[in-house]
């Protein structure tokens, strides 16, 4: 709705202001206040309780020499790259397949999307079971006669993060497919007709005409996937609890463990500030374009 034409004195719209108090409190106290508080205390050497003993960049220095944090970052990068690439590719391909005016479209869409309704804990536990080397896929394939078959991603520290990614993709590709499908449906039918008249093969039409037209959908999807990647926590807890050893640790888990188990709050705050930083770099430009600039007009 366009901006109200009448100039408002301060006491006008009092009801609206009163009704917005929860929002104002949440935005300023929890979101801004909480974030600033955490960043502020990340420069202290708080242990069991938050204390105001400033230690400068000490926590950050310790963070970046801790092997567990470095592994967390490395895992996050691998997991992130896999999630981004594969969810976009698989999501788009599934959406393109469903967009071929097929029969039973609703059934297929339902099947691809249902994992998204499940929690990461449930997803993680199911895949823990499927990837269990003694009973799961490895066992089944070995029973078929291929006795040297090895597939135990959750128990092999060099590939454990890929095992977690499999579950993440199973859970999340349905959502991406849905968004892509909505995007494809927004493409004017005439584009397809024109491309067909010109004799452009279908894959070329997708690659050079349709995908560029779907740019906004891709950007939204990208932001959703990216912000999900940074938050990944439940899935790892359910599948491996960070193991074997510390091979599948992720930053979100590092933060939680240092705050609530290791009772080293300063480390937790510093680590969460690093998470914040990575998200700010991705999200703020997008949010500004999406909500900031346009609405002010």
């Amino acid at each position: 709705m366009s901006k109200s034409e009448r100039p408002n004195p301060l006491f006008r719209n009092l009801n609206a202001k009163v009704a917005s108090i929860p929002m104002i409190l949440t935005a300023s106290v929890v979101f801004v206040g909480g974030t600033v508080w955490t960043v502020f205390y990340s420069f202290t050497n708080s242990k069991l309780l938050p204390r105001l003993n400033f230690a400068g960049l000490d926590q950050y220095y310790r963070l970046w020499v801790t092997p567990r944090w470095l592994i967390s970052i490395e895992n996050l990068l691998i997991y992130g790259a896999i999630s981004l690439v594969f969810s976009l590719v698989i999501g788009f391909l599934l959406a393109a397949l469903l967009d071929q005016k097929i029969r039973f479209e609703d059934t297929f869409r339902t099947i691809f999307l249902y994992p998204f309704a499940l929690s990461f804990i449930v997803t993680g536990l199911v895949w823990q079971w499927l990837l269990n080397p003694d009973f799961g896929i490895q066992h089944v394939v070995r029973d078929l006669g291929w006795t040297s078959f090895n597939f135990d991603p959750l128990y092999n520290s060099s590939i454990v993060i890929y095992g977690i990614s499999i579950a993440a993709l199973w859970q999340g590709t349905g959502l991406i497919m849905c968004l892509m499908l909505a995007g494809l449906r927004g493409i004017d039918e005439d584009i397809w007709k024109a491309a067909r008249v010109d004799g452009i093969p279908m894959w070329k039409t997708y690659l050079f005409i349709v995908i560029p037209m779907m740019r906004p959908v891709f950007i939204t999807t990208l932001v959703i996937i990216a912000s999900g990647i940074v938050k990944v926590y439940d899935l790892v807890v359910a599948q491996t609890s960070g193991g074997p050893g510390i091979a599948s640790e992720v930053p979100a888990k590092y933060v939680y463990d240092y705050m609530f188990f290791a009772q080293n709050l300063g480390q937790g705050f510093a680590a969460s500030t690093m998470m914040l930083l990575s998200v700010v770099i991705v999200v703020v430009p997008w949010a500004y374009l999406e909500f900031g600039g346009r609405k002010r007009g």
Partner: protein, 311 residues
């Protein structure tokens, strides 16, 4: 839906198009090569997506000896519901041995008020933002939206302190507040966009008739917004039910929601692993969101699209 049968605006245009178009109505060969490829791929992918669900169900219906002997894909030779009973009523998490039932009721007592509270707040927020714009409101709204992307880890500890100060740490009410707070950004966005898309004349007319802030909301806006309320309910029920992080941070063992309890049952280190009980427990926990998903069907799709993209 990009339906090919959409009538073209002008009949002249339609005729012209038909004359120049290279093909008429598509010939329907059921077993064309394209169709075999298309459906073949879709069916293979569908099997992949369904397999975990199948394995869960099958495993939960087997006895432990059968699990140790057979493979995870084989159907149970002897169907037993014992694992389900055990998962629900007697499985142990820490000190409590009353199964998932405790977590289930905790989750219910968390989800219901959280959903009601967050939707009540967010719908009023969205309404105030869309129809009663006041100075500064936009700023808070932008903070809220950006806040939705900030990793929760950054805000977890300050909230622990706040909850402790007001004496709600570890209680179900504390978690309800947390869910209402974190549900606010996306829901407010949803409602704001919905209310903004409603005809402005409606709002103006009501004002002329002397209706105030709450009058317009309760008598005109809310009753006309049933679809978006349903979408919001679906989003929140599945989201809050599936939450793990907040549950694990802000509750204590006797107030654990179902997801936390499930993880503790399955990933407990002591004792023999009872895979059938674990899978039954997993299904039980996934059941509520799955039911919501299957019942709401297209609305669920709309819900995630609305929550993910713009309403």
């Amino acid at each position: 839906m990009a339906d090919p049968a959409v009538p073209l605006p002008a009949s002249a245009g339609a005729a012209e198009r038909e004359a120049s178009g290279p093909r008429g109505p598509k010939p329907r060969h059921v077993f064309s090569r394209r169709n075999i490829f298309l459906y073949g791929t879709l069916i293979v992918v569908a099997v992949y997506y369904l397999l975990p669900l199948y394995v869960m169900v099958v495993t939960s219906l087997k006895g432990m000896p059968e699990i140790r002997m057979g493979n995870i894909f084989s159907p149970p030779l002897e169907i037993t519901f014992e694992p389900w009973v055990k998962a629900w009523a007697t499985a142990c998490t820490g000190l409590n041995c009353d199964g998932l039932s405790r977590g289930f009721w905790n989750s219910v007592r968390i989800t219901v008020p959280s959903v009601l509270l967050s939707i009540a707040i967010a719908s009023v927020n969205g309404y105030a933002l869309a129809n009663w714009r006041f100075k500064g409101a936009d700023t808070f709204f932008v903070i809220l939206i950006v806040g939705a992307f900030i990793p929760y880890q950054v805000m977890i500890y300050p909230i622990v302190i706040i909850l402790r100060e007001i004496g709600l740490y570890g209680s179900l009410s504390g978690l309800v507040i947390v869910h209402s707070i974190f549900g606010m950004p996306i829901l407010t966005l949803l409602f704001r966009n919905y209310f903004a898309s409603m005809p402005e004349e409606l709002f103006r007319a009501a004002r002329v008739d002397g209706a105030g802030f709450w009058g317009i909301f309760l008598r005109i806006m809310a009753p006309m917004s049933l679809p978006i309320f349903v979408v919001a309910i679906i989003l929140q029920v599945t989201g809050i039910w599936n939450d793990f992080l907040f549950g694990v941070v802000y509750t204590r063992p006797d107030t654990y929601p179902m997801t936390v309890q499930l993880n503790n049952i399955v990933n407990s280190v002591q004792g023999v692993k009872e895979y059938n009980v674990n899978m039954a427990a997993t299904i039980l926990t996934g059941l509520v969101p799955l039911i919501v998903y299957f019942i709401s069907g297209k609305l669920f799709v709309r819900g995630i699209a609305a929550g993910a993209v713009k309403g």
